[in-house]
């Protein structure tokens, strides 16, 4: 399952935004690992920093933001040292990204075949005809019927679900080692989402591509991911194997998040809710960012908790868990 070196290893990543109102640390000490062929679910709500993490990995963080600390080891190479040219060489060929809005990937004035051929030939010296064949195969791989006709169409002639599939096809064209997908199915219908999840899962299994699936929807991640990483206010609060975390969450936020899902509550009874709101990143409380909403908050939480490693291999950032481990 996992080969010698992981495809992606993020270590203590820090990304900050230097705005008029102050410095916002959108990604703070984030670490996780994705091995070959694995799917990691990066889960969090708005303001958690999950999207900025994805952008940081791809070097797409724009002014006034900057990656200010940590390492991003992609197949052993540290991407934080990469220049824009080096990044351009790997974007689209070794690492790809799929966005929530497929129109962020697709150019509305170009035909699909033009765009796909362009994406292939940007990274490889190959004839147009051969590139076209690869494009056609990629469309077939993501389950688009009659690919020959579809190649000649423009993006606006596709439905939303189809467009997202084309976006995935483009991401897969050059057989990347890693795909980062940022909420790709959030805007799609349930049946279309199911189709895309199905295709994606099949493809990852067949080609060995690793996948980081960024979402706020725990239920999607449950069926798709091998590992899960939960983020809150820019920090990782819990990461581990999907079964371990979902069946037995250790961090109070994860616990609350899982508890909020309607299916986990008795019908007709009020849902378990996490009181309050995500704090503004400009105004984080001292210590653990979750303390104001946490049912187990204690005076010790005013000191930032460190990452604790549990017996099943998962990592949790919480004093309570740390204490439990110490007493174990």
């Amino acid at each position: 399952m996992s080969s010698s070196s992981p495809t992606l290893q993020v270590e203590n990543l820090q990304t900050q935004f230097f705005t008029k109102a102050g410095v916002v640390t959108a990604v703070d000490d984030v670490s996780f690992t994705v091995n070959r062929g694995e799917v990691l679910g990066l889960v969090g709500e708005s303001g958690s920093g999950k999207t900025v993490t994805g952008f940081s990995i791809l070097g797409l963080v724009d002014h006034p933001g900057k990656v200010t600390g940590g390492k991003i080891l992609f197949n052993g190479e540290d991407l934080t040292t990469y220049s824009e040219n080096q990044y351009r060489a790997i974007r689209g060929s070794r690492i790809s990204m799929v966005f929530q809005d497929p129109m962020m990937t697709l150019n509305p004035v170009l035909r699909v075949d033009t765009q796909m051929v362009e994406a292939i030939r940007a990274h490889e010296k190959i004839s147009k005809a051969d590139a076209l064949v690869r494009a056609r195969d990629a469309l077939g791989q993501v389950g688009i019927p009659s690919p020959d006709e579809r190649l000649k169409s423009y993006p606006h002639q596709f439905s939303g679900g189809m467009r997202q599939r084309v976006a995935f096809a483009i991401a897969l064209l050059n057989k990347p080692d890693l795909i980062i997908a940022d909420e790709p199915t959030t805007a799609l219908d349930v049946t279309i989402q199911a189709q895309i999840l199905f295709e994606t899962q099949k493809l990852c299994r067949e080609t060995g591509t690793s996948l980081v699936w960024i979402t706020h929807d725990l239920t999607v991640v449950a069926g798709l991911a091998d590992n899960i990483c939960v983020m809150y206010a820019g920090k990782v609060v819990e990461t581990g194997k999907i079964d371990d975390v979902l069946d037995d969450p250790k961090h109070p936020y994860t616990e609350g998040l899982i508890g909020s899902v309607p299916s986990r509550n008795k019908r007709g009874q009020p849902l378990t809710q996490i009181p309050g709101m995500t704090p503004s990143l400009l105004n984080l409380p001292k210590g653990c960012p979750f303390q104001k909403r946490c049912q187990y908050a204690a005076p010790q939480c005013e000191v930032s908790p460190k990452i604790t490693k549990c017996e099943d291999g998962r990592l949790v950032r919480c004093h309570r868990v740390e204490e439990a481990m110490a007493h174990a």
């Binding site: 349930v190 049946t191 069926g223 091998d226 299916s263 007709g268 849902l271 009181p275 709101m277």
Partner: protein
């Protein structure tokens, strides 16, 4: 949950239809006269829907894009006029009322919208957003307005000091609460929630859903809850109505629907909702895309994607029939016995 013996219909929709027509432009009309096949573009957003909601119930309207649930909700709330069909509220046909009664009915049925950012006027302070309608309709005097709004805001979990602020200063969840307060300020009995929690984070969603349930109990409200999220719907609804491309395909009590779904579309939908419990699942989606509403399939709209489609399905539109008490489904397969 209302007592079964005391079911009193508060909203009745009969053969409600909404067509959006994009007429041919001048050039198109000429081409048509010259014999080409051009026709006006017609979308049957809602196609001959009949529905009843009883007092105190939560009825959920579920479906995917193009099913017409939002259009239906807007017709019920009085925002869109129907093309044909009748809406009866508390026994009265809404269309035939005097202007005074019509106004009162309009206030009784309120709507809560999906987008917390577009649903509040960015140039008005919260006190104006909430207070405009009650003042306009003389539900409260200007001297009593502050206290009235305080009451509504507290009920929705908002600090009354927020009255002076502008919408852009609030988070999505708080804005949704402001939208709810705006609806409550005119003392409605019936609320249409159009994907009211879809744009919210899961933890905020839980807060807002709990608020809905609390308000229902406190104020004896009835809800038409429009959503695509079957997980949420399962939790709060008494009854569920499934729509596909403008038509109702199945309706049943929540427990009945989830345990004994009858229509192939409902079955597919239920099978495909991702759940926390299913891991490393092999998703088994149904084939095909949702057809364009501009050109829906003949007969049963679902037949191109239905694994059990027969010839009859391709030509004849199925009607809603009761297959067990309180459980209706529109599928020819039910009649093959």
């Amino acid at each position: 949950m209302p007592d079964q013996n005391e079911l009193k219909p508060v909203l009745q929709l009969q053969n409600l239809t909404k067509k959006f027509v994009k007429p041919l432009d001048f050039a198109g009309k000429i081409a048509q006269k010259l014999g080409s096949n051009l026709r006006d573009e017609v979308v049957h957003a809602v196609d001959n829907v009949s529905l009843t909601v009883n007092k105190g119930e939560v009825v959920s309207l579920v479906g995917e894009s193009g099913c017409g649930k939002s259009t239906l909700g807007r017709m019920v709330a009085g925002i869109l006029p129907q093309t044909s069909g009748d809406i009866f509220y508390e026994g009265q046909n809404v269309a035939n009322q005097s202007s005074e009664d019509a106004r009162r009915t309009a206030l009784k049925i309120q709507m809560i919208f999906q987008d917390p950012f577009a649903s509040l006027n960015p140039r008005l302070r919260v006190k104006d957003i909430l207070g405009e309608a009650p003042l306009y309709h003389k539900l409260v005097s200007s001297s009593g307005l502050d206290a009235y709004l305080d009451d509504v805001m507290l009920r929705c979990g908002l600090d009354p000091d927020f009255k002076q602020r502008y919408p852009h200063q609030f988070s999505g969840g708080q804005r949704q609460r402001i939208g709810i307060a705006r609806a409550l300020a005119v003392q409605p009995d019936f609320i249409v929630c159009d994907e009211a929690v879809a744009a919210l984070d899961v933890s905020i969603q839980a807060q807002v859903l709990n608020l809905f349930m609390q308000l229902r109990a406190e104020l004896d409200l009835t809800y038409l809850f429009i959503s695509h999220d079957l997980g949420v719907v399962e939790h709060i609804s008494d009854r569920i109505v499934i729509m596909y491309l403008g038509r109702v395909v199945e309706t049943a009590d929540t427990d009945e629907l989830f345990s004994r779904a009858n229509h192939p579309y409902t079955q597919a939908l239920l099978r495909e909702i991702p759940r926390l419990e299913t891991r490393h699942s092999d998703f088994t989606p149904i084939e095909g895309e949702i057809p364009s509403p501009l050109d829906p399939p003949n007969g049963c709209h679902f037949h191109p994607r239905c694994p059990f489609a027969t010839d009859r399905c391709r030509t004849e539109i199925p009607t809603l029939k009761e297959i067990s008490p309180g459980h209706h489904s529109a599928c020819h397969l039910n009649e093959s016995n």
